[in-house]
C-alpha cells in the first residue's frame, strides 16, 4: 500500500500511471494507492499516529524532504541504507541524499525534487527594455518601476505567510547574504548575524518600497501563483509547478508571456542565487510486512523509466543525475532546462526538532515582514527560540 498525496491536478493522475508501469514490470506485486491529505502537516500527523500505533500499512509513503531526521529519530521510517547498497544512492543528484539522511543512515529515497525559481513576465520586461534581473536590488528597482509605469499592479510576489514556505524563501535570501541558520552540528543557532539582518531587512524593504504588496505576508504558494497567473504581478518566486500552471489556459491569463530564470542574489555575490530544495522522498514503514516488495517499488521509482515519466510527462524535477542531465529532459521545458544552472541550499532539517526550529524562524520573520516588530527584535527572538528548539530534548513546545 502506497500513501501519497496528489501530485498533479490536470490530466491523468501521475500516481496511477507510475503504479501501472510498476506493476507491468513486477507483475507479482500489486499496489494500492491511498490518497493522503494535501496538507503536509496533516499528512505527517496521520502517518505518525498510524505508524507509532503499530499499523503495518501504508507500506511505503511519500513524504516531505524535511522529515528524515524527525522520522528517523522516532523510528517512524526504515533506514534504507541498511537494505540498499550505496551504489543505489549514488545515482541521485548531490545534496539530495544527505538531506535524506540522519545520523549516518539514509531514510528516504528522493522521488522528485523541487526548487525555487524566478518567473518573470517577458512581455513587460521587453516593453521597458529591461533584462532579467541578476541581483535582488535590481529586481526590487525593476518591480517598482513597472508598478509606477502602470504596467502591472504588483511587482514581485512570493510566499511570506507564517508557514513552512516562508522558511524556504528566507533560506534563499539568508544564504545569498552569506548566512546560515545553525552551525553544522546543529548545536547552536546563528540567526542573529549580520547576514540574517541583511536578508530580513531586504525582505521587509520589498514591501515598504512598494515592490511587493503588503498582502504578501499572507501569501502561500496558491495566492502568489494566482496573483501572477492572473496577470497582476511582474515577478514571482515559486516552485517548478508554476511553469505548467502559468502555461495552462484554464488557469492562467499570461500564457506565452512567462520566462524562467534562476533566482537573483545580492549585489557583489556570485550569480545565481541559491534555490531552496523542496520535494518528496519515499519512506518505508518499519512495520511493513512486504519489505522486499517495498524496496522493489523504491528502486523502480528511482529508475530512468519512472523518472522520465515524472519529468518529461509531468514536469517534475527528476532526482537522478542521469535523467536530470539528459537532453530530452532539458529540452522539455524551460524550468527543467534551468535546473542545471541553479545552486541549491537545503533547509536545516538535519535535526529531529526541525519543525520547532522552522516555527521559530517563520513566526518571527513573518512578524517582522508585517511590521509588527523590528528586524532586530525579530531576529533575536528567532535566535532564542531556535536555540531552545535545538537544545531541549522535546524541541520545546
Amino acid at each position: 500500500m502506497w500513501s501519497a498525496s496528489p501530485i498533479n491536478t490536470t490530466g491523468v493522475d501521475v500516481r496511477t500511471v507510475l503504479i501501472k508501469d510498476f506493476e507491468k514490470e513486477y507483475p507479482k506485486i500489486h499496489v494500492t494507492l491511498v490518497s493522503a491529505p494535501t496538507d503536509t502537516d496533516t499528512n505527517r500527523a496521520t502517518l505518525a499516529t498510524e505508524i507509532s500505533g503499530g499499523s503495518s500499512t501504508p507500506d511505503v509513503f511519500m513524504g516531505d524532504v524535511i522529515w528524515p531526521a524527525q522520522f528517523g529519530e522516532h523510528g517512524l521510517a526504515l533506514p534504507l541504507s541498511d537494505y540498499l547498497p550505496s551504489s543505489f544512492f549514488a545515482q541521485f543528484a548531490p545534496g539530495l541524499v544527505s538531506g535524506a539522511s540522519y545520523k549516518g543512515k539514509v531514510y528516504g529515497s528522493p522521488m522528485f525534487e523541487d526548487q525555487g525559481f524566478l518567473y518573470y513576465r517577458k512581455d513587460l520586461l521587453a516593453k521597458e527594455g529591461m533584462s532579467v534581473p541578476t541581483t535582488w536590488q535590481q529586481l526590487e528597482a525593476d518591480s517598482v518601476k513597472l508598478v509606477h509605469a502602470g504596467l502591472v499592479k504588483y511587482g514581485f510576489v512570493w510566499e511570506g505567510d507564517s508557514y513552512e514556505g516562508l522558511t524556504c524563501d528566507f533560506m534563499e535570501y539568508l544564504t545569498d547574504a552569506g548566512g546560515s541558520v545553525t552551525n553544522s552540528s546543529y548545536t547552536s543557532a546563528s540567526l542573529n548575524s549580520p547576514a540574517a539582518n541583511t536578508a530580513l531587512t531586504f525582505m521587509r524593504s520589498l514591501i515598504t518600497s512598494g515592490a511587493s504588496p503588503s498582502a504578501v505576508t499572507t501569501f502561500q504558494e496558491p495566492q502568489a501563483m494566482t496573483a501572477f497567473a492572473d496577470g497582476q504581478a511582474a515577478f514571482l518566486r515559486n516552485w517548478d509547478y508554476a511553469w505548467a500552471d502559468s502555461q495552462t489556459p484554464s488557469t492562467s491569463k499570461v500564457v506565452g508571456k512567462v520566462g524562467v530564470a534562476p533566482l537573483p542574489t545580492f549585489a557583489g555575490q556570485s550569480y545565481p542565487g541559491y534555490s531552496n530544495i523542496g520535494g518528496w522522498n519515499l519512506y518505508i514503514n518499519p512495520h511493513s510486512k512486504n519489505i522486499a516488495a517495498d524496496l522493489d517499488f523504491i528502486k523502480f521509482m528511482a529508475s530512468n523509466e519512472a523518472q522520465d515519466v515524472l519529468s518529461v510527462q509531468y514536469s517534475e524535477i527528476p532526482t537522478t543525475t542521469a535523467v536530470r542531465d539528459s537532453s530530452a529532459v532539458i529540452a522539455e521545458n524551460p524550468v527543467l532546462a534551468t535546473v542545471p544552472k541553479t545552486r541549491l541550499i537545503a533547509r536545516p532539517a538535519g535535526t529531529p526538532n526541525y519543525p520547532a526550529l522552522s516555527t521559530a524562524i517563520y513566526t518571527n520573520i513573518n512578524a517582522a515582514l508585517a511590521g509588527s516588530t523590528s528586524v532586530s527584535s525579530a531576529l533575536s527572538a528567532a535566535q532564542s527560540q531556535a536555540t531552545t528548539a535545538l537544545t531541549s530534548p522535546a524541541g520545546g513546545l
Binding site: 496521520t46 500499512t57 488557469t251
Partner: protein, 280 residues
C-alpha cells in the same frame, strides 16, 4: 400582540425589518460561496472580483464528482451521521428525561462529569482512541466513526434535552399516572411530544457535528472507500494548489442535506413552536 396595522405598515415593522437584515447577514457570504463555485479557476483571482461569474461554469461540480470520489464521501458521511444522530437521540432523550425529572442522587456530579468529557480537547484524545480502535480491529469501517461520534455528542445532547425537559410543567407525569400509564408510556406519549423542540435542537446539532467532523474521520478512516466528506475535501488539489472552485462546489453539495432535513421537519418545528405558544 393584538394590534393590527393597515396597508404597508403591516409589512414594514420592526420584526420584518430585522428579519430582512438577518437574512442579508446570513445570505451574502453564502451568495459569495455559491457564485464562486461557478467561477473558472482563472476568474477566481480577478481583482476586482467578479460579482457574477462569467463565464458561468459548472466544471467545478463535475470535477468534484468525477475526478474526486465525492459521491462515495457523501454516502459515507450520510450513513455515519444518521446512525450516530439516531443513537444520540435515543440514548440522550431517556437520559435527559431521567436527569431532568427523576429524583436521582448525584445528578450534579453526573452532569459535571459529562461536561468535563465534552470539554477535553479532541486533539489529545486522537492517539489513544486510535490505539483503542486498532486493538478492537474496527478501523476503516462505519463503526469506527459511529461509536466515537455517539459517545462524544451524547454529553451535549443530554445537557440540551435535560434543559428542555425541565421546561415541561411538572404535572405532566401526574396526568399520565392518573390515566394509568406506566413511566415508559408516560415518557413516550406525553413528555416526548412536548419536548420536541429540544429533540429537534439536539438532533440538528448532533447531525452538524458529525457531518463536519474532521480529525477522527481522518485518523480512523484511511482507506478511500470509507472516507467522509470533510476528509475527502481535504484532498482536493495538491500540497501546492488549492482548487477553491471545486472545494466550494463540494461544500455547496454538502450543505444540501441539512437544508432538506430542515425543510422536511419544518412542519414539525413549526407545530412545535405554535403548540408551545398555546400551551400553558
Amino acid at each position: 400582540m393584538g394590534r393590527t396595522r393597515k396597508g404597508w405598515r403591516r409589512v414594514i415593522n420592526g420584526v420584518n425589518i430585522s428579519a430582512f437584515f438577518v437574512t442579508l447577514f446570513i445570505a451574502l457570504p453564502l451568495y459569495w460561496l455559491i457564485i464562486s463555485s461557478f467561477k473558472t479557476p482563472v476568474a477566481m483571482g480577478d481583482s476586482p472580483p467578479q460579482y457574477w461569474p462569467s463565464p458561468f461554469s459548472g466544471a467545478n461540480y463535475s470535477q468534484a464528482f468525477v475526478q474526486y470520489d465525492f459521491g462515495i464521501y457523501f454516502r459515507n458521511s450520510l450513513i455515519v451521521t444518521l446512525c450516530a444522530t439516531a443513537l444520540v437521540l435515543v440514548f440522550g432523550t431517556v437520559a435527559g428525561y431521567a436527569l431532568g425529572r427523576l429524583p436521582m442522587r448525584g445528578k450534579f456530579t453526573l452532569m459535571v462529569t459529562l461536561l468535563i468529557i465534552s470539554v477535553f480537547p479532541e486533539i489529545a484524545l486522537i492517539a489513544p482512541l486510535y490505539l483503542l480502535e486498532r486493538n478492537f480491529g474496527i478501523l476503516n469501517s462505519y463503526e469506527a466513526l459511529i461509536i466515537p461520534y455517539t459517545a462524544f455528542n451524547l454529553p451535549f445532547a443530554i445537557w440540551i434535552l435535560r434543559n428542555y425537559m425541565l421546561g415541561i410543567p411538572k404535572e405532566m407525569e401526574e396526568t399520565g399516572r392518573i390515566d394509568g400509564a406506566g413511566p415508559l408510556r408516560t415518557v413516550w406519549s406525553i413528555i416526548l411530544p412536548m419536548a420536541l423542540p429540544g429533540l429537534f435542537t439536539a438532533g440538528i446539532f448532533c447531525f452538524t457535528a458529525c457531518w463536519t467532523e474532521f480529525l477522527m474521520a481522518l485518523t480512523f478512516e484511511s482507506v478511500n472507500n470509507w472516507r467522509t466528506i470533510p476528509v475527502g475535501i481535504a484532498e482536493f488539489g495538491t500540497p501546492l494548489e488549492v482548487p477553491y472552485g471545486t472545494i466550494f462546489a463540494a461544500s455547496v453539495v454538502a450543505v444540501v442535506p441539512i437544508g432538506i432535513l430542515v425543510f422536511i421537519f419544518r412542519k414539525f418545528v413549526i407545530s412545535g413552536l405554535t403548540s408551545g405558544a398555546v400551551k400553558g
